[in-house]
């Protein structure tokens, strides 16, 4: 009996099973639905990004128009929003929104992109608290549940389908009494199981990859071939892990029912329980400092700063000679005093948030240490990172926005301190945010360890299965 005849036989057998046909059909529908969901989300983000960028252009144009009118002798529309004032042009009125384009494969993996902000309004008042404002105005209930995307289908549902198709590849033959017959042919149990599983893997992985490639095609993700490759490799490795695990359990020569319960138990522990338990552990071992503390600290600082403005200004000028532009104001203007207070509050906030960030880094380190326990965690990490919707890309964006805010301040604050007025001629020089998106190499480097471990788990299960199957005899 050749591998090909096993394959042909399997196809006939599988297609003869009505329940299985229904399940496979359902899986295909879910894949398409998950994909459609992801595409809709990506389009939504793209529209938002576009609207936000239009807003940038419009704000600049409104400033330019009013500045031109003032130059021609008109009065500013409101003396509180005089665009010539640097704290207005660089403040909320002239603010620039820094944007992160959706990750190239967002349609496949929504990841963190529905929780973490992908645009920030940057102006001279941008500080650490700006990074802690709530992002979207979405229904909290839906945020809590998460999205039904391809990643969810791959991580949660695909293993179950794999197990449903393969929990009895060998035990069924034994239970139906065909095992002895099969093994009386010149073929080993290893070959039989491998052929049967290869067929099933081809079927399921083929479906998932087809859906993935369709999604990538629709949303133009082929521009990042490295990410596509990483995505596909992870899907294949993760799916194969479950197939091989099923083969291993089958090689233990127990009943089909035993196989089924053990495999479902393995899924439960690896996909549901362990991640949730690590979640709890990270929160317990490294609790984040209360956000309440951060809010209160900000207010305390701003209250105090208002009363000590002159003193703060003197210190500020001492610390930032570059901002003063060589002019030390003997009689500081109100703008300069206000800025000194603002800056003092920002410093205080940075102190509080750095503590917060340190704890969060500890949490992440703990999660990173224990993610090796669960192939689901490893796969999810690589999948969303490959899609450009993982924590790392958003962290990179945020730190670039931080740097951009600094650049923004460097542009406007000297004028504030010197109580200067600005005009339309500076508008082209106002900083613009340019994202330096991560390189494919960065993603590949981050994926290296988790993907290797996932591969190692696969090999481990494979060795177990190989050894176990080597002991299977037809007379069992």
């Amino acid at each position: 009996m050749t591998a090909r005849s096993v394959l042909r036989n399997e196809w006939r057998l599988l297609m003869a099973d009505r329940a299985l046909r229904i399940v496979l059909g359902l899986f295909a529908v879910l894949l398409v639905y998950a994909l459609a969901n992801g595409v809709v989300w990506m389009r939504f983000q793209e529209r938002t990004v576009e609207a936000v960028q239009t807003g940038n252009v419009e704000r600049t144009r409104a400033l330019a128009d009013e500045l031109a009118a003032i130059e021609n002798g008109a009065e500013p529309a409101s003396r509180f929003a005089d665009p010539r004032a640097p704290n207005v042009m660089g403040g909320a009125r002239g603010s620039h929104t820094a944007v992160l384009e959706p990750g190239p494969l967002t349609a496949l993996a929504v990841g963190q992109s529905d929780l973490l902000p992908y645009y920030y309004d940057v102006n001279i008042y941008t500080n650490e608290s700006s990074f802690h404002q709530n992002g979207e105005v979405e229904n909290p209930l839906n945020l809590m549940v998460g999205r039904f995307d391809l990643t969810f289908v791959v991580i949660y549902l695909l293993p179950l389908l794999v197990l449903a198709l393969s929990f009895n590849v060998l035990s069924e033959e034994r239970e139906q009494g065909t095992l002895a017959l099969t093994l009386s042919q010149p073929v080993s149990a290893r070959r039989v199981v491998a052929a049967k599983l290869a067929f099933r893997a081809l079927l399921l992985v083929g479906m998932v990859l087809a859906a993935s490639l369709l999604g990538i095609l629709v949303t133009g993700g082929f521009g990042s071939p490295g990410r596509v490759l990483l995505w596909c490799a992870t899907v294949v490795t993760y799916a194969l892990f479950w197939f091989v695990l099923a083969a291993w359990v089958n090689s233990l020569r127990r009943s089909s029912a035993w196989n089924a319960t053990v495999l479902v138990g393995a899924w439960l522990v690896l996909v549901v329980v362990l991640p949730a338990a690590i979640n709890i552990a990270s929160g317990l071992l490294h609790p984040l400092p209360s956000r309440v503390q951060m809010v209160t600290a900000q207010r305390e600082a701003s209250n105090e700063a208002v009363n000590r403005r002159s003193e703060l200004l003197a210190r500020y000028l001492e610390d930032h000679p570059e901002m003063a532009g060589g002019v030390v104001a003997e009689e500081p203007g109100l703008g300069a005093l206000a800025w000194a207070a603002t800056d003092a509050v920002n410093r205080r906030l940075e102190e509080v948030t750095s503590e917060h960030d340190a704890r969060r880094a500890e949490q992440i380190a703990l999660v990173r240490r224990y993610r090796f326990l669960s192939p689901a965690l490893l796969a999810q990490e690589v999948l969303i990172d490959a899609a450009g919707t993982g924590d790392a890309r958003f962290a990179g964006f945020q730190s670039q926005v931080r740097a951009f805010a600094e650049q923004w301040r460097e542009f406007f604050v000297p004028a504030i301190l010197a109580s200067e007025q600005m005009d339309a001629s500076v508008l082209p020089d106002v900083p613009k945010f340019r994202l330096e998106d991560e390189e494919g190499a960065d993603v590949a480097r981050r994926a290296g360890v988790p993907l290797t471990v996932l591969g190692a788990l696969l090999v481990l299960a494979g060795v177990g299965a190989g050894v176990g199957l080597g002991r299977v005899r037809g007379a069992d």
């Binding site: 329940a19 639905y33 969901n37 939504f44 529209r47 938002t48 609207a51 409101s78 929003a81 929104t97 929780l115 709530n134 992002g135 979207e136 105005v137 979405e138 229904n139 909290p140 209930l141 945020l143 549940v145 999205r147 039904f148 969810f152 549902l157 449903a164 009895n168 089909s256 029912a257 089924a260 319960t261 053990v262 479902v264 138990g265 996909v271 329980v273 991640p275 949730a276 338990a277 690590i278 979640n279 709890i280 990270s282 609790p287 209360s290 956000r291 309440v292 503390q293 809010v295 209160t296 207010r299 305390e300 209250n303 992440i364 999660v367 999810q380 990490e381 969303i384 993982g390 924590d391």
Partner: protein
């Protein structure tokens, strides 16, 4: 009756011999206990911090020096959302809604600092809360304990024996339900007991007995439905394997896939705008009305003319009230109305989504149980909305009181140099949030209540209708 108990005991014996069931039971109970301990620890420290900072903020408010009222408007104050006493059991949407509101003049700050934003990507795997253990894992234990309850009797050929000994099909089913129910209770009881123990010994605000009873009833009904369903499927399937496959498939669909499918469906049905879009709409609407900081604004010019006419004077300086305060008061009224209108529109959209989700609860009891559990624990969306609405009402009240002080106690001339005496600050009302009552949140959820009822009634009806077929199926099947 006695043979119901006998059959129940028989089922319990079978489960005790099954190492897998025992292992799963231990696992679920242990996870439940760990989840209670973890969640309790977390919420207790959060609550303590929150109370400390709220006291600090309140003190800062009353200890303000003599101040100009408009300075106080910008000084603002903070309110922290207090977690419901049972939030440790079911945190609901708390982590995804803000925990604090900074209340100041001229604007409604949306509740900020949601916990979820600070979590890692791991959060998408869900949090192991007591509610998740009961709602997600316990059903699987029930399935594992009972998928073979009737089918194995059939496979082993013992079903006809039981019948021959005088047990009617109905009694066999009742006994099986009782037996599997024991396993569910054995796993749920430690979680319930430790929760009660914590509540009884813990300090702070105590949850009402009614809320705890509602939680217990929700999960009892939900799990009872699973027990009934398991026995029903087991009695209908020829083999234990088929029963297991079907039950696990049902669990995956109802508990794992349904929540996300539901969320994406309601999102597609009632799409929500992006924050950028939302704030742009609010700002646009406010711009159209007028700018209270701009004295030449048409809206405020009209207001001035109206005041001048009313008091029959020629200029704002001659008004018996402080014109700057009037502008501030009117500006606040207008901007608050606009942003509240938009906020309510957005929330109406969320509520429409939630209602659509409630309909889906009829298809997945997991959704219905989750909905009722959040309601009973006081961590549902309406609790967050009540906090926001009450905080906004409080903010508006305080800001307008300050504006009234500005109008009547501060003279227009040399406005900025004047102060209100510090004693005044202590006279301001203190924010006392009033969370929605249990009765109200339950009355708001007829669909979820009906869904749980249906969840029990359907398999019960199935068992009742199917009992006549039981012996024949049993004898048709040759035992292996």
């Amino acid at each position: 009756m006695s043979n119901i108990l006998l059959i129940a005991r028989r089922q319990v014996g079978a489960m005790r011999e099954d190492r897998y069931v025992v292992f799963l039971l231990g696992l679920v109970a242990a996870l439940g206990i760990v989840s209670v301990l973890g969640a309790r620890h977390h919420t207790a420290s959060e609550a303590e911090q929150r109370a400390r900072y709220q006291a600090l903020v309140d003190r800062q408010w009353t200890e303000q020096p003599d101040r100009h009222p408009h300075r106080v408007i910008h000084y603002g104050f903070l309110v922290f959302r207090e977690e419901a006493p049972l939030a440790f059991f079911d945190p609901g949407v708390g982590a995804y809604a803000g925990t604090s509101l900074f209340l100041e003049g001229h604007r409604q700050n949306s509740a900020s600092f949601g916990d979820a934003r600070h979590a890692t990507a791991l959060l998408s795997f869900g949090r192991l809360t007591p509610a998740a253990v009961l709602g997600l894992l316990l059903p699987l234990l029930v399935v594992a304990a009972g998928f073979a309850s009737v089918s194995r009797e059939r496979e082993q050929g013992t079903l006809p024996l039981l019948l021959a000994q005088g047990a009617t099909p109905a009694r066999i089913m009742a006994g099986k339900v009782l037996g599997i129910g024991t396993a569910a209770v054995a796993a749920a009881l430690p979680i319930g007991l430790i929760t009660v123990a914590f509540v009884a010994t813990g300090g702070g605000e105590q949850p009402s007995i009614a809320r705890m009873a509602a939680l217990a009833a929700t999960y009892a009904a939900y799990l009872a439905g699973w027990v009934l369903l398991t026995v029903w499927v087991s009695s209908r399937r020829a083999s234990s394997r088929a029963a297991l496959a079907q039950l696990v498939a049902i669990w995956v669909v109802l508990c794992v896939a349904a929540p996300r499918l539901g969320a994406s469906l309601v999102n597609a049905l009632h799409p929500v705008p992006s924050r950028a879009q939302f704030t742009a709409q609010v700002e646009e609407a406010q711009r159209q009305v007028g700018d209270s900081h701009n004295p030449d604004d048409p809206f405020f010019r009209a207001l001035r003319d109206e005041y001048l006419a009313r008091y029959q004077v020629a200029s704002v300086e001659e008004l018996p009230v402080n014109w700057a305060g009037v502008v501030s008061h009117e500006g606040e009224a207008v901007t608050s109305r606009i942003s509240e209108e938009h906020q309510l529109e957005l929330l109406a959209l969320h509520r429409r989504q939630d209602r659509a989700m409630a309909w889906l609860g009829l298809l997945s009891p997991h959704l219905a149980a989750r909905d009722l559990s959040m309601a009973a624990a006081g961590t549902g969306p309406e609790a967050m909305e009540a906090f926001r609405a009450q905080a906004e009402a409080h903010r508006y009240d305080i800001i307008q009181r300050l504006n009234d002080l500005h109008i009547h106690e501060i003279h227009y001339e040399n406005d900025r140099a004047q102060r209100i005496a510090r004693q005044e600050w202590a006279r301001f009302p203190v924010f006392r949030p009033d969370p929605p009552s249990l009765r109200r949140v339950l009355a708001d959820r007829p669909l979820s209540l009906a869904a749980l009822g249906l969840w029990i009634a359907l398999p019960l009806a199935g068992l009742g209708l199917g009992r006549k077929r039981l012996p024949r199926v049993g004898m048709d099947r040759p035992s292996r």
